[in-house]
Amino acid sequence: MTKNGILLEERSVVIPGETLAKGMDYLPGHGTHRVKEEVRSSLIGLLDVKGSVLKIIPLKGVYIPKEGDKVIGQVTEISHNSWNIEINAPLTGNMYIAEASKSYIESDADLSRYYDVGDYVYAEVISVGRDNFSKLRMKNRMFKKLEPGLIIKVSPVKVPRLIGKRGSMVKTLKEKTNCSLIVGQNGLIWVKGKKREDELLAAKAIKYVERNAHLSGLTEAVKQKIGEWKNGKNKK
């Protein structure tokens, strides 16, 4: 009963309230909490051990913004000095005029000339308040207004798989479908291809990754699947 240490194997499925480790040798990280001598899970997810810190990789849930996240959002409202941007999080994000562009924007300028209501933008989260309210920035060359394309929504917890190790999955998808692709960490993905079929192929592949996010060797599987879909179409 007094045995200390981790009680479960790494990567095992845990549920809220499950005891992960006993004793004071381990620290509770994201998705865990301490009850006296025990570290318990607070989420459904997979156990991840980083040194002496235990954390949970969530399997479900909404997007909670984090500082430094690169997200895709839609402009929903324009005030005299800022834009409200819906980023698929509990609260709508806000971007102040000074953070909106590399170039200088006059204080009395018509802001809809830069980003109008309904436009999709690629932006960075610069700060998150205690209540998960996020402030956004586009003051960098990599952030931009997105031209009309396909917006695909996936579960935010699946985004790391969609990016892959050092972006391997994104690279594969781009190469195999001939589309430009931007993945927002909030679960929105922008796809733009030369042909409509390419975009739909990319959408199909993204949904495939989302469905099979728990499998290993996914990048290879996706390559094969896209090949199959392309051949199947040519035969017809």
Partner: protein, 237 residues
């Protein structure tokens, strides 16, 4: 209707629950959802959020709000129930919110709301308990941080016999039946909800609570098994 000793109208033992079925992830559009069936009582729950809370004036600055919405559907009972929230529905929404708020880390979502919609498509007593059981499962399924799951069951007494999980027939017993719905969370060790409808002796009350707590533990075990089964290998939908 004659009641033989220690036998109930449906042939159960005094400390026996009705047959339980449960399932997580039944509503694709919800963040988390669950279905819970005990005997002929069924509850379907959808969890949405955390999200922005309106109207603004009911926002809490230091923590989130867990808002339950209990709805007994009009066709769920034999006499058609008038649709829309009744006084009873509003009371049970509040009771369910209070029973579950204690289990969720609400301080992570200040000013926001977690909406829990409890629908009862079929009722045969114990609807609030079925609703809370389903809601606990759905909250976990929604990936909302919790201290643990909760089981809810009604214990009670028919005449002088302490029984578990009363049906509608038993609740309406001519000699007078007592109904004690309670919610218990084994991980925190708290009884987060306890109601009493009827009369009962002190001795029998403690016996009934004890019986309810044990049954709630069993329900939580089943919930945990259901979730583990669903997320086995990290698979979702």
């Amino acid at each position: 209707m004659a009641k033989t000793k220690n036998k109930r109208p449906d042939g159960r033992k005094p400390s026996e629950m009705r047959k339980i079925e449960m399932e997580a992830g039944v509503i694709p559009n919800a963040v988390g959802s669950a279905r819970f069936k005990i005997g002929d009582t069924e509850a379907i729950v959808g969890v949405y959020g955390p999200r922005e809370l309106h109207p603004r004036k009911i926002r809490l600055a230091d923590q989130g709000l867990l808002q339950c919405n209990y709805d007994l559907m009009s066709f769920s009972v034999s006499d058609r129930k008038r649709p829309g929230p009744s006084r009873r529905d509003r009371e049970l929404s509040l009771v369910s919110s209070n029973a579950l708020s204690n289990l969720v880390f609400l301080d992570k979502y200040p000013t926001q709301v977690i909406d829990v919609f409890i629908q009862i498509p079929q009722a045969d007593a114990g609807t609030r308990c079925a609703g809370i059981c389903a809601a606990s499962l759905a909250l976990a399924d929604a990936g909302i941080p919790m201290k643990g799951l909760a089981g809810s069951i009604s214990a009670g007494a028919i005449g002088d016999t302490v029984v578990l999980d009363l049906t509608k027939e038993e609740e309406d017993w001519a000699d007078g039946a007592t109904d004690i719905p309670l919610t218990y969370s084994p991980k925190t060790g708290f009884i987060t909800h306890l109601q009493l409808d009827g009369e009962i002796s002190k001795k029998n009350l403690f016996k009934a609570i004890d019986m309810g707590v044990k049954a709630a533990e069993k329900i939580v075990d089943m919930q945990e098994k259901t979730l583990k089964e669903k997320y086995k290998g990290g698979a979702v939908e």
